[in-house]
Symmetry: C2
Subunit: 418 residues, 2 copies
């Protein structure tokens, strides 16, 4: 049993480890990932035992979805291991020359990608995030302090055994990936107060947790509070594309942040497009809440309230509003969007370009499903989350977004004139 240390001590150790990671070779980091994967497979029985302890300790009111996210089995453990192996194949995001400029006085200015330093990742009771997030931070040269949901405590501790094995065997400091060894909220509070020691917090989870961190920390955050994504059916939309995309954007999966929550439809295509869309959604088990005009089209539609436009359902429910034109659609999105992902369906390229330009969200799409907003789909290999903030990273946060840059300036004795 390892000795329990304070969160501040962890952060200081992380800072030390981050110096070793900053200069670690790509090969060393990749080896650590492969050793972790190897050990995860070997240690499967212990991990399943720890996971059973977690499941057995669940309160009786835990939902099936919650249990589902917490439970591990042969397949999910294999998934964690192969995800680590996949990360070993991704390009190293560190030490890339982003731009180079020679100044008139001969100074050569090189902008180079570097790790951020020490990152804290705070997440819900999903054990697989432990290895995914730990590995992404490490591969991008950052030390990380993980804090998983308390219900997954034993599972996470067991995953950490594999992580430490991998780090140690590759010759990296084991403090490169640490986990808060407590279920206490007090330690979470201490973690988010360490602004001198932690460079970035990536929180994942419910709105309550995210708001708590936002209100109580002065450390920079990458997070998304809500994913209220819109799909807008423009009057020049192709009907088949509209149907296919709406079905996928709303119902492919409903509990995900990139699912469409509100559909806006041009008045001109109410009969031709909206009517079959409503029918399709309801036939596929989706509850439809609409404005007055939408309700008039189909008596199975429930009247939407003002609150619906600002709600992320994360469920088989959708809100629908009829708009006069693209200006009104943009205005509605400006008002209610969470800056995540919005799509326009149209064959009119001028309207499409206007939408792509004037909507301020992190990701704007033309004739595609909002559910494409995802690090894997975007070719980033893996993601640690989605950022709806405006600075540093927007949209999927992958390896590249876990780095920052510095300027290396090379001279031969230059001094600055008065």
């Amino acid at each position: 049993m390892r000795k329990k240390i304070s969160v501040l001590e962890m952060a200081l150790k992380a800072k030390e480890a981050s110096k070793a990671l900053m200069i670690a070779s790509t090969e060393t980091k990749n080896q650590a990932l492969l050793f972790m994967a190897e050990h995860l497979r070997l240690n499967k029985d212990n991990l399943l035992k720890a996971n059973k302890m977690d499941l057995d300790s669940l309160k009786p009111d835990a939902t099936d979805a919650f249990k589902d996210r917490l439970a591990l089995n042969d397949k999910t453990i294999e998934g964690m291991a192969s995800s680590l192996e996949m990360m070993a194949t991704l390009n190293d995001p560190v030490d890339n020359v982003l731009s180079t400029k020679t100044l008139p006085n001969g100074l050569v200015l090189e902008k180079v990608s570097v790790p951020i330093g020490v990152i804290a990742v705070i997440y819900e009771s999903r054990p697989n995030v432990t290895s995914d997030a730990g590995a992404l931070c490490m591969k991008s040269g950052n030390a990380v302090i993980l804090r998983g949901g308390s219900e997954s405590f034993n599972s996470c501790q067991e995953i950490m055994v594999s992580i430490r094995y991998g780090l140690e065997k590759a010759g990296l400091p084991i403090d490169a990936i640490q986990m808060v060894e407590s279920k206490d909220r007090a330690e979470l509070q201490e973690l988010i107060s360490l602004e001198k020691n932690i460079d970035l917090i990536i929180p994942r989870g419910g709105r309550g947790l995210l708001s708590f961190i936002k209100e109580n920390s002065h450390i920079p955050l990458l997070l998304h509070l809500d994913g209220i994504c819109h799909t807008y059916i423009h009057k020049d939309a192709d009907l088949k594309k509209s149907l296919d995309i709406v079905l996928n954007a709303k119902l492919r999966r409903t509990g995900v942040c990139n699912a469409t929550e509100t559909i806006l439809v041009d008045y001109d295509v109410m009969e031709s497009h909206l009517k079959p869309i409503i029918n399709m959604l309801i036939e596929n088990g989706c509850e439809v809440r609409g404005d007055r005009l939408t309700c008039e089209l189909d008596d199975r539609v429930i009247k939407a309230t003002m609150e619906d436009w600002a709600t992320e359902y994360l469920d088989a429910i959708v809100s629908i509003k009829v708009v006069k034109d693209i200006e009104k659609a943009i205005n509605h999105i400006d008002m209610y969007s969470s800056n995540h992902t919005e799509a326009i369906i149209t064959e009119n390229s001028k309207a499409a370009e206007k939408f792509l330009k004037e909507i301020g969200s992190a990701v704007v799409m033309h004739n595609a499903s909002t559910q494409f907003c995802d690090g894997g789909q975007f070719g980033m290999g893996a993601e640690i989350g989605i950022s709806t903030g405006k600075l540093h990273a927007r949209g999927p946060v992958g390896l590249e977004q876990l780095t920052t840059f510095k300027y290396k300036v090379r001279g031969n004795g230059q001094i600055r004139p008065k």
Copy 2:
């Protein structure tokens, strides 16, 4: 006289204006800058009158340096006007395609630079910052709320007349650049609390003001608290370069954040390099505070305390420490640096590359003066400040750093497989 409005009202108007700015053409923005410059020159007499009011209201204990920053004359006003004209010649940082990728399913992913939105710039009593910061934010497509030091209130209000003239004449909303029309701290407090309305705060000024904002706001900040820059004389340093660079890095100007505050010198070159460096600094009117070994070299050196290593003098004072080797130099910088700018002087390229790689500061230099860390010197055209944070922007903050990005995804009906 315009009617005084609340800070929240200003922020809401700024948000509206930011939508117009987001889609404003480069030409329109440049025209606004030129009209502002024209009006500044025409309005010179009124501006000088307003500035005299500010100067006459100064408390008797105002320092000469303070008065110097506040005072305007023909030359400084011409400088403000030509700075606006210069900004009109810079490339538009908005709407640039940063990268493009076609995914296997045919989706085209375009990463495009976009404005951040609404920025607040809070600064000391330097009237010229009003036009500089306002123009930089506007040119990069952002609406801005300015809050200058209370002692420069009348001067800033008069500069705003020219700014509004330029905006209006170019057909841009006058709320694109607004100024808090009050000297109250209460309005500053309200400004920094508007996290739903303001996307970024750029504070400039003394440590007290910056700490106050950092502690009391949850809005992302770009700022530097301190500029404790180091110049390290490695054992393989060229003596002439060492002397030239140290003199320039410390004494070219002393009140600037990129001035070197601490010099580290390898033990091996104490006699050969440090001795003449001390002599040169003292002969040029610089007070030298050193560790024990430095004191032993020259009896004019004052003994440094622990506090000296953590002090930004902003004056003709320097601290000097002898180190065993490059490892110790890096350790010292890790401990005391403010992540601004550090330089190594050496003819040994291996040592130089080690220093450039292992020092985590925003700007790391080889054989050059730390005073080169500056937006103008770096070829950015103009800067609004220096960022020592790790996210989004590091080092000089110019037009490009006042933008963020979004992804434009163009498809033809793609849906995401299960």
